[in-house]
């Protein structure tokens, strides 16, 4: 399963010729392929219980939930909990923190793997390239707990960042106690953790660009920059669009676990996001209905963002997720 396989894979995507899908009734299909359907039973039960029941469980956003009472709530209260958070100043603080952090991630972290992939693609020394790839992929495999631990150590008063500041004659900054620093630290750690691994799909897309295009461009007198601009970038555009749409879909969820591990009450004014806020009010303070309303609001925005990003992408560049 190497790159060469992947390159040829699209060619052999013709469906296996086994049994042309003959139109059958459900009864016939079940009788003929019951063994195959038996494979579906456990996975479907799983999806139903662990994916769809929680979706239905969101009704508690519209019902009053009492601990120990009906898990789907005791009585209808309409949009009571939605009005409650819409009129809550703290909610809007975490809402804008989420938008800013998500926006910065998209703006800064998303393009970095593209740049790194282009740079790696220019490297001729195979060994050097392999070393760079091996090392930059590594942070992707670390537990988020370890990443957070590393970040907290590096930014602590005696950590490396402050060692450098002191060496340059500055005074140490208690980064994790100053709200103004949180976004920079979060974005840097995201970049550190994801930039290398993010190059894989771009590097694969780059190999599929026809060499003859470069040949032709060179004959037409195009320099390296123009080749990159007119051939390389359009060549990886479908990959870029798919990843962009997926990223937009997780925009509202902004690295919940990492933020939760990095934040502390002193820096809530910038470091608290919707998901961590709803964790606190929901799980820690047991305001289930209120937190579920916020969660539902967040999921619906997320879904709407994916759908519209996909729609726009298909209209503009003809590539999308579906």
């Amino acid at each position: 399963m190497t790159v060469t396989d992947v390159k040829h894979a699209p060619a052999k995507q013709s469906k296996p010729v086994l049994a042309k899908p003959v139109e059958r009734t459900w009864r016939q299909a079940l009788r003929r392929d019951w063994r195959l359907y038996s494979f579906l039973v456990l996975p479907l039960i799983f999806l139903l219980v662990f994916r769809y029941v929680p979706m239905i469980g969101n009704v508690i956003a519209f019902r009053r939930f009492r601990p120990g009472g009906n898990p789907f709530g005791d009585e209808w209260v309409g949009f009571y909990y939605f009005r409650m958070f819409i009129h809550n100043e703290q909610f809007w603080n975490v809402f804008w923190n989420t938008v800013i952090l998500g926006g910065l991630t998209l703006l800064i972290v998303f393009p970095l793997p593209i740049v790194l992939a282009l740079l790696l693609n220019e490297v001729r020394a195979r060994r050097f390239k392999k070393i760079v790839q091996t090392i930059t992929y590594l942070p992707h495999f670390m537990s988020i707990v370890i990443v957070a631990g590393i970040v907290l150590q590096l930014t602590s008063v005696n950590g490396t960042v402050n060692q450098i500041i002191r060496a340059l004659g500055g005074t140490a900054i208690p980064f994790m106690q100053e709200p103004g620093w949180f976004r920079s630290i979060y974005i840097s750690s995201e970049a550190w953790q994801t930039v290398g691994w993010g190059t894989i799909l771009y590097l694969a897309a780059l190999t599929t660009i026809d060499d003859q295009l470069y040949e032709a461009a060179r004959i037409d007198g195009a320099g390296r920059w123009r080749q990159t601009w007119h051939i390389t970038l359009p060549g990886i555009r479908p990959t870029m669009m798919v990843l962009l749409i997926l990223n937009i879909g997780s925009f509202m969820a902004v690295g919940f676990e990492k933020v939760l591990l990095l934040q502390n009450p002193i820096i809530y004014s910038t470091a608290d996001v919707i998901s961590t806020y709803l964790y606190r009010v929901g799980i820690q303070s047991s305001q289930f209905s209120y937190a579920a309303a916020i969660g539902l609001f967040e999921s619906i925005i997320g879904l709407a963002l994916v759908l519209s990003a996909n729609f726009i992408s298909r209209r503009l560049v003809g590539a999308g997720l579906w």
Binding site: M1, D33, R51, Q133, Y137, L138, E257, A292, G302
Partner: protein, 308 residues
Amino acid sequence: MVIETTAPDITAVSSSVAHVKPTRGVVAFRVANTVLLTAITLITIYPFINLVAKAFSSESYIAAGKVNLVPRGFNLATLDYVVGDSMFWINYKNTVVYTVVGTAVAMALTTTYAYALSRPQLKGRGFFTGIALFTMFFSGGLIPNYILVVNILHMRNSIWAVVLPGAISVFNLLVMKSFFENFPAELEEAAQLDGMSTYGVFFRIVLPLSKAVIATMVLFYAVSIWNSWFSAFLYLDKKELFPVTVYLRNLIAAATNSPDAVGSTDAVQIGANIQSVTMLLTVLPIVCLYPFIQKYFVSGVMLGSVKG
């Protein structure tokens, strides 16, 4: 940290300029590119080197902000201390158990589901694929999941709370499905002519011939469960049930949020060496398996991307 790997290496594009005499601009670019990539690599690796250095340094040097690349005041006392904590090993063992059981459950569900979805004769394929795909873009959310696990299924303080909720990853499902779709149909037809049932074909022909993709998926699930902490943090409150990631999280939280930590400058440094040792021991299996992990992960991600 130079690990020999068989990761794909893509040089095809730049080879097209091989026969052209490099201009000065090209040479300058190559030098700048190499310098930049070296810098990125060093920045990426530095935190790990720093971690190792801190793990073997004495507390006083760390607190004085003097530890960066090499251990200062070298000692193994911290290692002894962490290794001597029986709770650490109990939690470490839990991580292993959760990873093995979780991976087994996830593989059983994913493989059978993916195989069924890949068969063209399955009526309702689109529907069965769709209900899995939809969960990628819309999920129940934290609170309903919590109520399900705690109030409906009563799984608090049970291994199943850690292992079950994440069992099917839709991405992995799609990777396997596309692999099975490209499976040579002739083999299965021949087996069916010999009177083998779907079960026989699946267990005796398809699975043994899918070792590569199965290994990839096992690694995908195992690494993600090994690294996970949140569901354990959420659903377990008995110390002796924690996985090692939660042990580590609590260690860090205790150092950061201890009552006198607020405002105190060296609070995070209390136990920085202990934290470092624990982190090192936690990532150790991943680092040891890294050459395999990297190879299989890269191929898995690409396999998934083919299908999109």
